[in-house]
Assembly symmetry: C2
Homo-oligomer: 161 residues x 2
DNA sequence: GTTATAAACTGAGTATACTTATTAAAATAT
DNA sequence: ATATTTTAATAAGTATACTCAGTTTATAAC
């Protein structure tokens, strides 16, 4: 404690936890080139046919801009396809490619292992409480699990209660 | 649930929690222009005299590159000063300016309120368990509170156990 | 049927948060 | 005393994750 100024403020710890989580994600994937966000979007697109980008953004809890960038990268790598929608020419319909599915199959086990390792310092009871608390916070602040998806979340749309 | 694909995977929830945390931070500050990372560094520099950047990086749990960028921005705004160190001319000594202290005084209450609001969905017992679990995870993965500070954490330095 | 509004996306800009490579200075080894 | 290694900082590059402004297309109002 003499050596650092960690005040253990929630916001600080949450930021570091995210960094740790991403770090473990990357090492667990070893040679595979895939970021957590790319994985989330690939998974979302794999689970649902013909999503447009705004829909992906809502499901992945990202803004439209970030979503557009990430989908573009996935498209460039041949992991997803993108076409202008017939019914609504403003929107682009996104789908996984066979390559995308193959990649998802290769990484799914490794990602599960990463999640386990991340939470390994907690015993099963602690782990369940931790995840329940996490979910509770998100449900309160973001209506996760409800039909109301607003996004984005970076700045200015959270009012103090 | 029909509306979204939230699988409630830990990594996913942690990322969204971080987004919510940052969002609440920004709205709680209202007109004040300060990011969470800038606040962390400003706070670190306020609490310790004559830190060099690598030291700040260790204390704030950031890599040298990010720390350099953020300190540069703070310097540009006149919130910190930076000079080449006398004892070690490789390193730069950083200190808060009076403006920096003034800003810290203005925002400290608002930031406390933000932390409270973030965790408001939890009752006191839940809140304590949540923070204890959070700390436990970080201590295990990062030696927070110990003298061994390694950083950075983004990629590749976490081995699966 | 035209007009106003809203929605999907894009582009530019800012700020993390890392990576590798490079430079310079200090510490260590022999 | 010199050669090696380590350390502090920077530079360039990538990938989030937002902001706001703008374009195109669809929907709603009238």
């Amino acid at each position: 404690m003499a050596e650092n100024n960690i005040d253990l403020a929630p916001g600080f710890m949450i930021r570091v936890l995210q960094q740790v989580s991403v770090s473990i994600f990357h090492s667990s994937l070893e040679a595979e080139e895939l970021t957590p966000i790319q994985h989330t979007i690939l998974k979302t697109v794999s689970a649902n046919k013909n999503l447009d980008q705004s829909r992906i953004a809502a499901l992945a809890f990202l803004d439209a801009s970030t979503t557009g960038d990430v989908v573009k990268r996935l498209e460039k790598r041949g992991l997803v396809s993108r076409e202008v929608s017939e019914e609504d020419r403003r929107s682009r319909t996104v789908n996984v490619t066979p390559e995308g599915r193959k990649l998802m199959r290769r990484v799914s086990g490794k990602i599960e292992a990463a999640q386990k390792f991340l939470l390994s310092p907690l015993d099963p009871a602690e782990r369940d409480m931790f995840l329940a608390a996490l979910e509770k916070i998100l449900v309160f602040h973001e209506n996760i699990g409800s039909d109301e998806i607003t996004g984005p979340w970076q700045r200015g749309n959270k009012k103090l209660g």
